[in-house]
């Protein structure tokens, strides 16, 4: 069929997928195939679907997603590295009428900011936290993070991470689930359409808990960083399925409401 004929046919067609309203027109600065982009879009879709664009405040980390304020058409605060859960706490306590989310990389959430993120969870702060676990520090060039897998080569573990020298991959979600504070903790992935749909449902659920005053939610995402993993984006998706999920299994960890 010619291009013209295809265009003609569009008239009877309904738009079923488009950019969400809560993203603006700016291009993401992420590398090709980076899952931060998918996760950002899913959060924006959830905000659209819940009708909370004008009443949502995001808090963005230092890391590759530092520019959330450029890409989201909502208000975003960008605190110092590791302080995202603390600043989100402040925003929510000052304005409990708003929906507040914390968006944090694994360096931000599980390394420099472990204290802030742990205590926010323990207090059961009424915020929604998105924890992007790509098993290393992306922005600074692929150094080891506490989440790095045993044997994984990074720029600071060129021979691969060993438990003897560097400890074990930290399971933040399981750890925080031991506390009495959190309401909902789940681990999700975004490497295929089915997983993406599940992740979107989890995001909406977490926002709803906050809107109903149910307390702290955490969604950990297993996220691809193809460039620092030395893989193309398709191989990086396979690595999540074959290796990362083995250490960090997907699914709900706690739900108490």
């Amino acid at each position: 069929m010619s291009e013209e004929a295809v265009a003609e046919n569009t008239k009877e067609m309904k738009k079923v997928f488009d950019r969400p309203e809560s993203l603006n027109d700016q291009q993401f600065s992420y590398c090709p195939g980076c899952h931060h982009g998918v996760i950002n879009r899913l959060i924006a879709e959830a905000i659209d679907e819940l009708g909370i664009q004008d009443t949502t405040v995001g808090t963005a980390p230092v890391g590759c997603s530092v520019f959330l304020y450029k890409w989201f058409d909502i208000d975003v605060i960008q605190p110092a590295h590791g302080r995202v859960s603390a600043v989100a706490t402040g925003a929510k306590r000052a304005r409990p009428d708003l929906t507040v989310f914390a968006y944090q990389g694994d360096g931000d959430f599980a390394s420099i900011g472990t204290n802030n993120s742990t205590h926010a969870a323990n207090r059961g702060e009424n915020i929604t936290t998105f924890f992007i676990n790509n098993t290393l520090y992306g922005m600074t060039g692929g150094e080891m993070a506490p989440t790095t897998l045993i044997g994984q080569k990074t720029t600071t573990t060129p021979q691969g991470r060993t438990a003897k020298d560097y400890g074990y991959p930290i399971k933040m979600s399981e750890m925080l689930a031991e506390l009495d504070g959190p309401t909902y903790i789940t681990r999700q992935a975004v490497y295929d359409p089915k997983r993406i749909d599940k992740a979107r449902t989890a995001i909406k659920k977490a926002f709803r808990f906050q809107m109903e005053d149910e307390g702290y939610s955490l969604i950990e995402f297993l996220s691809a960083c193809p460039i620092n993993w030395g893989m193309d984006p398709v191989e990086a998706n396979e690595r999540i399925k074959k290796e990362v999920e083995e250490v960090y299994p997907l699914g709900d960890i706690i739900e108490r409401s």
């Binding site: 069929m1 291009e3 295809v6 046919n9 569009t10 009877e12 067609m13 309904k14 738009k15 079923v16 997928f17 488009d18 950019r19 969400p20 993203l23 291009q27 993401f28 992420y30 590398c31 090709p32 195939g33 980076c34 899952h35 931060h36 982009g37 998918v38 879009r41 490497y191 295929d192 359409p193 993406i196 749909d197 193809p226 193309d232 984006p233 398709v234 998706n237």
Partner: protein
């Protein structure tokens, strides 16, 4: 008549290949050209085979794809 149609914003595309791998109908392929950011972008090679499933849009990390689906008669 195709059951679906997509539009790719070529200047947002970073040529990651995820949509090509995910499309069940082999609609999408690399173009021979580069976009304003220097990426080898993708285009629709077999547009008549599109079923409007939306998978390509869902996996695109750069939100570069708009998807249309033909509505059933009388809907």
């Amino acid at each position: 008549m195709p059951r679906g149609k997509i539009e790719i914003d070529i200047n947002r595309c970073k040529g990651c290949r995820l949509c090509i791998e995910t499309c069940p109908q082999d609609v999408i392929a690399f173009s021979d050209d580069f976009n304003s950011s220097g990426y080898n972008y993708v285009e629709t090679e077999n547009p008549e085979d599109c079923i409007g499933c939306g998978f390509c849009g869902k996996v695109c990390p750069d939100v570069a794809i708009t998807v249309y689906k033909r509505q059933k008669e009388g809907v």
